[in-house]
């Protein structure tokens, strides 16, 4: 059972965009380990030959026709936004170049 290091916990918090205090991270490291220890039992029965289930029901091929349906108005789209400018969502500056 891998022990979770403080660095690993900090890295997870970055991946999850959670700005947590050092103290909270420390507590989480302990909590995550306790929980993980108990769920390691899962691998005892989950052997190679068992196929995984991602869906409770055997549905396939659920599609919709390529037909336009009414959109929200721009007011509705923006109504809950914390910050708006020129009919767009205003967000703080982006550091990480992507796309």
């Amino acid at each position: 059972m891998p022990a979770i290091s403080p660095d690993e916990v900090a890295h997870l918090a970055v991946l999850a965009r959670l700005d947590l205090t050092q103290e909270h991270l420390g507590r989480l490291a302990a909590e995550l380990e306790v929980i993980l220890a108990s769920v390691a039992t899962v691998s005892q029965v989950a052997t190679e030959q068992i196929p995984p289930t991602s869906h409770p029901l055997p549905l396939t091929n659920v599609f919709r026709a390529d037909e336009v349906r009414p959109s929200l108005t721009v007011e509705q789209a923006l109504m809950a936004a914390p910050a708006v400018e020129a009919d767009r969502f205003r967000v703080p500056r982006i550091l990480d170049e992507d796309s």
Binding site: D19, I35, T41, V42, V45, A46, P56, P92
Partner: protein, 499 residues
């Protein structure tokens, strides 16, 4: 006029249809009741007085202009809606600070169907934050109190919905169930709660916790009421790719004709014994004996992988929820924290989420992020999905021998507020009997079968049926309910202390 708040939904619907009471009168009576007791119970996060009275008035107007035939079977009946389902223009918080004050731009399909049926939505009920919990103590807005004993939990995550029923604030409620969040609160409050077959009720507008496990379902004080509500909210929805495209099973017919003669009932060996409070086990055993008296053939069945279900669930749920909760980032809706004009978006997202989410949500997001991480997927999430297969096979094998399975719904009666807060693992054990049905997608129902002798608190029995056989749940529950009421002389809730 006898107390409208003590009536069942079926009775109230009939009164409104017959013209013996107006929908507005019925709604007002329940709003008054909420005013009287909810400061103690705290089942509601938001009471939509104006909206409810307007909806009730609309039902009355329809009846006046087009007659009772124009009304749906539950028209004018009040209902409490768990705050995880969106209601257009009405606050929807999911029990979290991160959605404080959020008014959605759209109705959930469940909400829409309720409105179209003339059901009067009184307001939104309290819940563990984002449906994560078994006690409603993880609500950011303070816990709900069990009407049986205000120092105790009402169950979770849908404690508000169940408590509203037990406190007679509403005859109907809608909850959601991911690992037992309808059934377990029903058990500890002495009410009826049903998790339909996965896909039976639309998830469009149900703020997702674990997408492959979540299901909305009916909550009521009687089996028939639950069936009537089930029929209104269930059915295929083209907006939900995971919804079942098939007719809703005849749950109302089954609830009206409870009968277990010749029915094969399996008691799940793995869901009893150690870990179950003696009084809970006792009432359960008595109820099973009663089923036998009523003509059921009771045997024991084994579901050998059920003991692994809890562990699998606590890997699958956090994984899916860590992804589902990523959209709460302060950019388009909800709380935005830390934006002083100099910080980056990455920092503001981090501040918003750390501030807006409670400790249990943060814990599960972190666990899920870990379980899905590169290098760990196969051992954690991947393996958990295999246990899911094994649990599904256990159900299938059992249902070759029996028609329904039964177990105590929860291992204990309602525990004290604060009792299990410091031990997440102890909290998670509340769901040990209910989780298997979520993993397999099978339907489950909890109904009250007595009060535990040691503490006088409600005990629930869980009925489980195969996929799409939701009607079977109601058939068994109706038979048992009738027999129990006959044995006690009154519904169990009549014994709840006055508030």
């Amino acid at each position: 006029m006898s107390d409208l708040t003590r009536m069942t939904a079926a009775q109230l619907a009939a009164l409104v249809a017959d013209g013996q009471a107006s929908a507005v009168e019925v709604t007002q009576a329940h709003l008054d009741r909420i005013g009287d007791v909810d400061s103690a119970v705290h089942a509601f996060l938001h009471v939509d007085t104006a909206g409810a009275l307007a909806a009730a008035a609309a039902v009355d107007a329809t009846r006046a202009s087009s007659g009772p035939a124009a009304l749906g079977p539950l028209a004018g009946v009040p209902l409490a809606l768990k705050d995880v389902l969106t209601t257009e223009g009405v606050p929807t918080t999911c029990g979290s600070r991160i959605l404080e004050g959020w008014r959605p731009a759209y109705d959930a399909t469940v909400t829409r169907r309720l409105k179209e049926a003339g059901v009067v939505i009184l307001g939104k009920t309290n819940m563990d934050e984002f449906a994560m919990g078994s006690s409603t103590e993880h609500s950011a807005y303070g816990p709900t109190h069990n009407p049986w004993d205000l120092s105790r939990i009402p169950g979770g995550s849908g404690g508000g919905s169940a408590a509203s029923l037990a406190a007679y604030e509403a005859p109907l409620a809608v909850g959601t169930d991911t690992g037992g969040s309808i059934r377990q609160p029903a058990a500890v409050t002495g009410t009826v709660g049903v998790k339909p077959t996965y896909g039976g009720v639309s998830r469009y507008g149900l703020v997702a916790l674990a997408s492959s496990l979540d299901q909305a379902g009916p909550c009521a004080r009687t089996v028939l009421d639950a069936a009537l509500l089930h029929r209104v909210i269930a059915g295929h929805d083209p907006l939900d790719s995971t919804s079942i495209d098939a007719p809703v099973p005849d749950v109302v017919g089954a609830a009206r004709h409870g009968d277990v003669r010749g029915l094969r009932v399996g008691v799940v060996r793995e869901l009893s014994g150690e870990g179950y409070q003696p009084g809970v086990q006792q009432r359960f055993d008595e109820a099973v004996a009663l089923l036998e008296e009523l003509g059921a053939q009771v045997t024991e069945v084994s579901c050998p992988h059920f003991p692994y279900a809890l562990a699998a669930y606590y890997l699958i749920l956090p994984s899916e929820c860590s992804s589902n909760l990523a959209k709460f980032d302060g950019m388009r809706f909800g709380l935005r924290a830390g934006d002083d004009g100099t910080r980056s978006v990455e920092e503001v997202m981090g501040r918003t989420r750390a501030t807006g989410f409670g400790p249990e949500a943060i814990r599960r997001i972190m666990l899920g992020t870990y379980a899905l991480s590169a290098g760990y997927y196969d051992a954690f999430y991947g393996s958990a999905q295999k246990v899911r297969t094994l649990v599904t096979r256990d159900f299938a094998a059992a249902f070759e021998q029996v028609d329904v399975m039964v177990s105590p719904t929860a291992p204990t009666t309602a525990f004290k507020l604060g009792e299990k807060l410091d031990d997440p693992l102890a909290m998670y054990l509340n769901d040990v009997a209910t989780i298997p049905a979520n993993l397999a997608g099978t339907p489950g129902l909890s109904l009250p079968v007595g009060l535990a002798p040691e503490d006088g608190l409600p005990v629930g029995l869980q009925v489980m049926a195969p996929v799409m056989a939701d009607d079977r749940l109601y058939r068994v529950a109706a038979a048992l309910e009738t027999a129990l009421v006959e044995r006690w002389g009154a519904p169990i809730l009549d014994g709840a202390p006055a508030l």
